[in-house]
Amino acid sequence: MAEQRIKGYQTGTYVVGNRLLDPEERSVQARMDRSNTLTSGHRACRGCGEALGARYALDAAMRATGGRLIAANATGCLEVFSTPFPESSWQLPWIHSLFGNAPAVASGMAAAMKVKGRDDVRVIGQAGDGGTVDIGFACLSGMFERNDDVLFVCYDNQGYMNTGVQRSGATPPAARTANTKPVGSEPGNVFGQGKNVPLIAMAHGIPYVATATVAEPRDLEAKVERAMGMRGARYIHAFVPCPLGWGSASEDTIRLARLAKETGLFPVFEAEHGEITEVSRIRRRRPVTEYLELQKRFAHLFSPTENRPVLDRIQADADRNIARFGLLGGAGEE
């Protein structure tokens, strides 16, 4: 929670709203006049984290830009569930691109606005982790390198979910997917680097990079607002649990996002021009097993017998994040 520490108000900064707060201090999501950029009737699964993350991010961007916003959207869950022809759930100008070229389309939109002299109209590009870290990566890197005036948001649910849950460059080690079966001596996805796109984005030295989760809407909103206050290439990587692909209960979506941060598996931070400027510290540190147990994609680590070596490796990854990003020392940490 890097933003808006509100003390002595029963729930502080943690809930969406708070009747005791001045309306201006409440989150965008607490407002009855929020844009609902992704409105009801979309066909996302029950408890979809991506639908939630997209509404959080775009509603905040709409408010930050006074509604002058266009979105480019890669193919993926977010596009498939929101726009089955002829219906659309989007309540903003929205352009569907190919799977791999959303950042390039967004760059083009920004260039077009510049040509038309409309510097008041801002551009957002968005995609899932497949469209960002794998298929769209070249276009994304190019957009960063040219410092095009685009905020690109990746909704990371750690796999290709709408095509049947295949692994992506963002799938975590040991996770079961359709093509990383829990068989053999090293079950599930391989232990590797994966692709840490927030760090890669930082390596481009772009003005702004941030990570966030759907468990902390205020934090996500503040980051979008900050990003929209800047020009040039900006990148936000939002962690969005997927009940379908992860085999988790639909009501656990936010709990999982919270645990991803509180275990240290998903570090939440902000960076400007390649340097980390703010880290959201862990409030109540939890062991990784508490996060993994809730997901069937990790069930093979717990039954028929507990796979301690693999669990220890995952815990070691979390501990490495904690040390690397300095995630301890938060308020109320137990």
Binding site: G8, Q10, T13, V15, G17, A30, S40, R46, S88
Partner: protein
């Protein structure tokens, strides 16, 4: 309409797609019973009045009005109640229970300071009710009966109203200006108070033109125990001693005082003895500290003031200036057994605090009224076997405390009202308890409890000044806001924010909460899981 190449359909909104049809469970807003409300012997809606107090400013008066809907003594409660609400408070499982008692006192004191008035009496019903005893139970009954429009006369044997709140609880726990303010506020509602008028025959008193009576004479008689004593040994009982002090007497206690017993009255007697100049006050109790009926806070404050404790001891004999004690030992059932080991304790006086009994002579011979184990038998509605005569407080079987007594007064008033109208009292079904497990405590801010300051022990030695100070506006507000609002919506907007389908409607007008949009709710349950206070429940759809 002419459409572009390859386009055959108009653009539509997904709002046409009613995803509510996917649902197998639905989210339903509920009001669960908060544990504080559940535990309150006076039936206060604790969570509800804290909710108002959380707002501060204008909210304080609304909070106070919510309290006096169930209990007319917030300032007294905030001092003498042993707050079972705090023992039950779910926050106790998170860090430390909410200081409900301290907020109640703050509100009660604020009401006295600002002169807030109790609600107006109801329109006159023409019925008259006799209340015997102006203690907490009788006064509470009188208050609620007046609100219901009945005429009330209280007959009180003592020269002033208050009962044990005046004659039993010392001033350092309950200053008399506070007591008077809250008692007078009730009398001002048109209650006829006759002091110095004891009732010796309830049946005959009822004949005086009353339609019903509520008896609440309390337990005024200190229990005695047989202790072999020399002629010069000085012995008195705690009730008489405390009564005497309140009446302005200074009982002759000497320098060294032993108090026999382990209840709150024993603590009060020992602490009072200290204030009257005893250099040494020792409480002699035959069991252990764990078994002692006195409340922890009483023991703590007594110890701070230098009161010493002799556990597992009985008094075998009292002589002038000296007691013979026998050491006790607990048997396997936890009962103390004599060991035969004797020791001596210097004491100029022995104060007996071995419990109290009721003077029930007023119901002797009243047909239908049964007395069992020294208390009057009553039904669930507090009516005795004599129709129209009700009883409450210390004289009926229940825990004996001011708060329990107030609860009896409240309940009896409702029952008397129903009886006068010839109706059955209405039973209200209790909602499900809001357990700790139904909460999502992640959302509550880390906030350590604010404790009320206590007078330095050295400043309590020779006076009856109030020991515990009150909160100021800032600390009271902070403490109120530690409430987790268990089981009840407190408008945090979380459900409205976390729904991936925009299927929670925020009504937005004051006092209105949220509604589930069943056209689009897919039944994912996120709102239920992320509701901090457990005020939403998943219910299977009837298919």
């Amino acid at each position: 309409m002419e459409k572009p190449f390859a386009i055959t359909l108009d653009v539509g909104s997904s709002l046409a797609n009613k995803t509510g049809t996917w649902r197998t469970d639905r989210a339903v807003y509920v009001d669960r019973l908060p544990p504080c409300n559940h535990a309150c012997p006076a039936g206060e809606a604790v969570q509800a009045w804290l909710y108002e107090a959380e707002e501060g400013g204008e909210g304080y008066e609304r909070a106070w009005r919510r309290i006096v809907a169930d209990n007319p003594f917030p300032a007294i409660m905030g001092r003498v109640c042993y707050h079972p609400c705090e023992t039950a408070c779910n926050r106790g499982q998170l860090d430390e229970a909410v200081g409900i008692n301290s907020v109640e006192r703050f509100l009660g004191d604020l009401a006295i300071e600002r002169g807030w008035r109790l609600p107006e009496p109801g329109s006159d019903t023409g019925k008259r009710v006799l209340v015997v005893g102006a203690g907490p139970s009788g006064l509470a009954a009188a208050y609620f009966l007046r609100l219901l429009g009945h005429g009330v006369t209280i007959r009180e044997a003592e020269p002033a109203a208050g009962g044990m709140m005046r004659w039993g609880i010392p001033r350092y726990r309950l200053p008399r200006d506070v007591l008077d303010a809250e008692v007078n506020r009730i009398i001002d509602l048109g209650v006829e108070l006759e002091t110095g008028v004891g009732v010796t025959d309830a049946e005959a008193a009822l004949e005086d033109g009353f339609d019903a009576a509520f008896l609440a004479v309390g337990a005024q008689i200190g229990k005695r125990a047989y202790i072999p004593a020399g002629t010069a040994a000085r012995m008195l009982d705690a009730v008489t001693m405390l009564h005497g002090v309140e009446a302005g007497e200074r009982p002759l206690l000497g320098r060294r005082v032993a108090v026999y017993g382990g209840g709150d009255t024993a603590m009060d007697a020992a602490r009072t003895a200290k204030r009257l100049g005893a250099s040494d006050a020792v409480v002699v109790y035959r069991r252990t500290r764990e078994q002692m009926p006195a409340h922890e806070v009483e023991l703590e404050e007594a110890s701070e003031e230098g009161v010493r404790m002799r556990w597992l001891s009985t008094i075998k004999r009292a002589d002038e200036g000296r007691l013979t004690l026998e050491r006790m030992e607990l048997d396997e059932t936890g009962f103390p057994q004599p060991t035969g080991e004797l020791e001596e304790l210097d004491a100029d006086a022995v104060v007996l605090a071995l419990g109290q009994e009721c003077d029930l002579s007023l119901v002797e011979g009243v047909p239908g009224i049964d007395v069992e184990d020294g208390v009057v038998d009553v039904g669930s509605e507090l009516m005795t076997g004599r129709p129209g005569i009700f009883a409450g407080g210390d004289m009926v079987p229940a825990e004996r405390s001011v708060t329990v007594a107030v609860g009896h007064g409240h309940r009896a008033a409702g029952a008397i009202d129903a009886w006068l109208r010839g109706e059955e009292p209405t039973e209200v079904a209790e909602p499900e308890l809001a357990s700790f497990e139904t909460l999502n405590t992640w959302y509550y801010a880390d906030a350590d409890r604010m404790h009320r300051p206590r007078l330095d022990a050295v400043r309590r030695q020779d006076n009856f000044d109030e020991v515990v100070a009150g909160h100021d506006d800032e600390t009271a507000l902070f403490e109120a806001r530690r409430c987790m609002s268990c089981g009840n919506c407190f408008s945090c907007d979380n459900c409205f924010g976390v729904c991936p389908d925009n299927a929670v409607i925020k009504l937005g007008r004051p006092g209105e909460r949220y509604e589930i949009d069943l056209d689009f709710c897919k039944g994912c349950g996120i709102c239920v899981a992320e509701c901090p206070s457990g005020a939403i429940q998943m219910v299977p759809e009837q298919i």
